[in-house]
Every structure is written in structure tokens, then in C-alpha cells.
């Protein structure tokens, strides 16, 4: 089970931040093209749109809009987290800067709808040598928190 005192490490480095404050949402390690302005997740050295090599590392806020969703009726691969045993949601999330991200969703299917505002959070997959191995998932933003 997650333990606030255990260090958290990403399942694979180079994709998202792991903030020291557990209440702070992770950010997505992304790139912006200096030539055409397009944003990309994950990071890349050459712009996929204009082929420019002038790319700047950026961190994008983990807030976006649900483009599509499903609910998988099979436990999440590699997870020992009891919460994942009865299945899990998966969504495509559009970040305001442009990138679309596929990630698990927290919650049950009736809570999801296209256009839903969602926010990223870290989710513990399992314990690994005294550390919590984490992935990113998105959860619905409560109506009261939706500002726009």
C-alpha cells in the first residue's frame, strides 16, 4: 500500500515529474518547437511538424480535457494496488497546449464523459525495493474546482 514516507520513483524516467509535495500534481516533460511553436509530449529532439532541430524543454501542467475514455475490466498490468484489481479507466486527455496523452483514469465509468475536466496525479503501481513505483493517471476535477 502507498506509504507517505516511502520515496516515489517513476516507472520510467523522462516522462513526468515527481513533486516532493504529494498534493502537487505531476507535470509532463515536453518540448516546444522554437520555429513553428508546436508542443510535443513526450520530449523529442526534432519537430514532427516542421522538422526544426530548435526544440526547448518545457514542463506542461497536468490539466486537460477528456477527449475519449473507456473502462478496462481486467486488472492493471504490473499493479499490486488493490484499487486496480477490479479494472481501471483509460482516457485520452487533450492538454491546452495541444498534446494528447493516453493514461489511466481514477474513478468509475459513470464518472467519465467526453469534455470532462481532469487533473493529473501520481498513482502507486507497486512497491519496489522500499520505494513506490508510480505512474501518472488523471482524475475528474470536481465541479466546484472547475474555473473556466
Amino acid at each position: 500500500m502507498p506509504d507517505a514516507n516511502r520515496p516515489r520513483v517513476p516507472i520510467k524516467p523522462g516522462f513526468f515529474t515527481v513533486p516532493d509535495d504529494p498534493a502537487e500534481p505531476p507535470k509532463f516533460l515536453s518540448s516546444r518547437c522554437d520555429s513553428c511553436g508546436e508542443y510535443f509530449y513526450p520530449r523529442r529532439a526534432i519537430c514532427a511538424q516542421c522538422l526544426s532541430e530548435k526544440m526547448t524543454d518545457v514542463e506542461l501542467e497536468g490539466r486537460g480535457t477528456l477527449y475519449s475514455y473507456t473502462f478496462v475490466h481486467i486488472p492493471l498490468f504490473g499493479s499490486t494496488n488493490i484499487e486496480h484489481m477490479e479494472g481501471y479507466g483509460v482516457g485520452q486527455i487533450d492538454l491546452p497546449e495541444g498534446p494528447r496523452i493516453q493514461a489511466p483514469l481514477a474513478g468509475k465509468q459513470p464518472e467519465f464523459h467526453i469534455g470532462l475536466k481532469v487533473v493529473a496525479e501520481l498513482d502507486t503501481l507497486r512497491e519496489d525495493g522500499g520505494r513506490d513505483l508510480v505512474i501518472v493517471r488523471f482524475r475528474p476535477v470536481p465541479e466546484s474546482e472547475v474555473t473556466r
Binding site: 516507472i11 473507456t70 493516453q102
Partner: protein, 381 residues
């Protein structure tokens, strides 16, 4: 593409064959294709071999089963589109006069892959943790939102493909009685709204095509029509906003539109000329989308066409006549060649109970890892 013909085809039935090796399945599919062509392995000037899950060099090792004649053997891999991509390389080589007769062989053992896999215990990335079916389910949810599709439409595709598969002796899934929409809907939910009977199974198998100069086809088998490959295209993705770079992706819809436009232009044929079509129906939602992307119907009309039975045997343009990936199976390497097997038999008029009357033009479409699209058009003289 000029003067390229399918001289012979053969298959090792797709199924859960954990006790049968790639070498055995590959050899039997290959020998069946050679017999069908009326040729010996000694006549083969080159071989193109495709597999996804077997170790490096397995293709060359399996080719030794036929005899060691020194011919060039080339591996081709493009995920699900592996067999189709290998077939394309063979066609290009013959079309450009490099060889007269070549073998294309695809095989795979997903059952062995599953046994060895650590999937389920230790994903190496975030995307590995998610069931691949989920990514196709996301396409279905979107379609329901935009076009009012219902799970019943997907179930009707699943039922059609199961019932077509029951007419194909090489099909992995063999239903013992007609499959209904209700049965497909009641099968186990995998990733909403996709159920197991709207999804392809894992399996093992092999398939082979002998490709050669069209004039040889007439000489070798004067008793039957010549089946020509008149167009071939392979494309990868073009960037557009909202592109997904991570995860087992479905691939941009535009890629199938662009690739089909290419083969229609090359062949001078259009969607209205097609008598039968095979698609990458790993999940029923894919088949539904490809109806529109290949131009079999207009955008937004797939649901109405399904309700009319347009794509069923006896309908306007039958799709997945051999059962498709959903019923005939999808081991990986051989899948695209199973489409060539089916289309060749149909164009020759040798498809038995699932024969499309008077079939003259067939299209085969495959996607590889959502990142490449391969399409061929075959015709009968």
C-alpha cells in the same frame, strides 16, 4: 504495378498450437503454396519472411526446412502488417524485374510469447501497464459520441465475422451454430464497449504466397484465372495536432484514407469496383471505421450500412469474408498473408461456401502498430 501475379497460396490453420513449432507451421504453409502454384522450392529465387514474436534470424532458420539452395532470404517486420509488408517487397522485386518467382512466408506463435512474457508482472513503462484493447475502445467511445454508434453495431460486425469464419476451414474460431448479435454483446466485457467476441484472439499459425511474373501464372496453371497484384502502397503517419506518440496506438484515420487513395490511383479502380475487402479488424470498431476510410461508404454512414447488411456475404461489398482477424485469427506475422490467401481463392472462385459470386477485384488492408498502413488490390483477369 505491372505483370505481378499470385502464383500460389497456402496456410497452416490459425489456432492455439502450443505443441507445433514455427518450423513445422511454416514448412506446411510453404509446401501447400508451392503445390498450389505447381512449383518446387528449387524454383524460388528469393524469400521474404515475416514474424514478430520469434527471436532474431528465426525466418532464415525456418526457411532451411525447405532445403538449402543459397537464395537470398530477407526478414521483413512491421508489427501486425508484417505479412503484408513482406508481400509488398516481393511484389516490388518482381515488378522491377529483379526476380521471376519468390516466396513470401509469415508465421508466429503468440502462445509461446504469452508463456515467456513478463506482462502482468512487470511493465517497463506507463503504456505497458494498460491493456492494448483499451486504445481501440477509446476510438469506439468517440464514435458513439460523434455519430451515435451503438454497441449493437459492433456486435453485428463481430457476429458477421464469426459466421464467415465458420465457412472457412482455416479459421481459428469455428462457431458450431450461427452467432447472434445478442451472443456477441453477452460475451465478456474487455474494455467498454468492446467484448471478447468483438476482439481478435491470440493464436499461432503460418501463411505463404508465391509471387511471380504474371505470364508464368498462365503457363503453370492454364486451368484457372490469373490473380494479379495491380496496386501496392505502404505509408507511415503524417503529423497532425492531437497525434498520439505514446502507447499501442490506433493510428491516425487519415493514414488509411491516404494509403487507399494511393492504391485507387495506381490501379485506376475505385471503391465502387471492389467485390470484396479484407481489413485490420483486430477490434470491431476498426472494421466499422475502415468502411468509411476506405471509401466503401460515406463518412457517417457506416452504422446505416451495417444495419442494411451491406458488408455481409451476399451484401453490397462483403468485408472480412474469411472471418477477419476476429474469427480467422491474428497470430501476427502471417495475418496479412492470410488476407492474400483468402482474396486469391475468392478471385479464382475457389472459396467454397463463402464464395462471393463473380468476384473480380479484392482489396487487402492492414495496419502495423498503428504506425503504418499497407494496402494491396488484387484482380482476376
Amino acid at each position: 504495378m505491372k505483370d505481378v501475379a499470385v502464383l500460389g497460396v497456402g496456410m497452416y490453420r490459425f489456432g492455439m498450437w502450443s505443441d507445433v513449432s514455427n518450423a513445422t507451421m511454416g514448412r506446411e504453409a510453404g509446401m501447400a503454396a508451392l503445390r498450389d502454384a505447381g512449383l518446387s522450392f528449387r524454383d524460388m529465387q528469393a524469400a521474404y519472411v515475416g514474424h514478430i514474436f520469434a527471436p532474431v534470424m528465426t525466418g532464415v532458420r525456418v526457411m532451411k526446412e525447405f532445403g538449402l539452395t543459397g537464395i537470398p532470404v530477407q526478414h521483413v517486420e512491421n508489427a501486425s502488417a508484417t505479412g503484408s509488408a513482406a508481400f509488398r517487397e516481393a511484389c516490388l522485386a518482381v515488378a522491377h524485374g529483379i526476380y521471376d518467382v519468390v516466396m513470401v512466408l509469415g508465421f508466429d506463435k503468440m502462445t509461446a510469447m504469452i508463456q515467456q512474457s513478463t506482462a502482468g508482472t512487470a511493465p517497463e513503462s506507463m503504456e505497458d501497464a494498460i491493456l492494448p484493447a483499451a486504445f481501440f475502445a477509446l476510438w469506439a467511445t468517440r464514435r458513439m459520441h460523434e455519430r451515435g454508434m451503438k454497441p449493437e453495431h459492433l456486435a453485428r460486425i463481430g457476429a458477421k465475422n464469426f459466421n464467415n469464419g465458420a465457412l472457412n476451414p482455416m479459421s481459428q474460431r469455428q462457431a458450431d451454430k450461427p452467432v447472434t448479435i445478442e451472443k456477441v454483446l453477452a460475451s465478456r466485457m474487455v474494455a467498454w464497449p468492446l467484448t471478447t467476441m468483438m476482439s481478435c484472439p491470440i493464436g499461432d499459425g503460418a501463411a505463404c504466397a508465391i509471387v511471380g511474373r504474371a505470364d508464368l501464372a498462365k503457363k503453370l496453371r492454364p486451368d484457372r484465372p490469373v490473380v494479379r497484384v495491380v496496386a501496392s502502397s505502404l505509408q507511415s503517419e503524417r503529423y497532425a495536432r492531437g497525434h498520439l506518440f505514446q502507447g499501442p496506438v490506433v493510428g491516425p484515420a487519415q493514414m488509411t484514407i491516404d494509403t487507399s487513395r494511393d492504391v485507387y490511383e495506381e490501379s485506376g479502380l475505385g471503391p465502387k469496383d471492389l467485390d470484396l475487402v479484407q481489413v485490420h479488424d483486430a477490434f470491431a470498431i476498426e472494421e466499422l471505421e475502415y468502411y468509411e476510410l476506405l471509401g466503401l461508404c460515406k463518412a457517417g454512414e457506416a452504422e446505416a450500412c451495417i444495419e442494411r447488411g451491406d458488408f455481409e456475404l451476399g451484401g453490397r461489398v462483403p468485408v472480412s469474408t474469411d472471418g477477419g482477424l476476429i474469427a480467422r485469427g491474428h497470430p501476427g506475422g502471417p495475418t496479412g498473408l492470410a488476407q492474400i490467401w483468402e482474396t486469391t481463392l475468392q478471385l479464382r472462385g475457389e472459396a467454397g461456401k463463402r464464395q462471393v459470386d463473380g468476384a473480380r477485384v479484392g482489396l487487402c488492408h492492414m495496419m502495423g502498430g498503428g504506425s503504418v498502413c499497407v494496402i494491396h488490390i488484387l484482380t482476376r483477369d
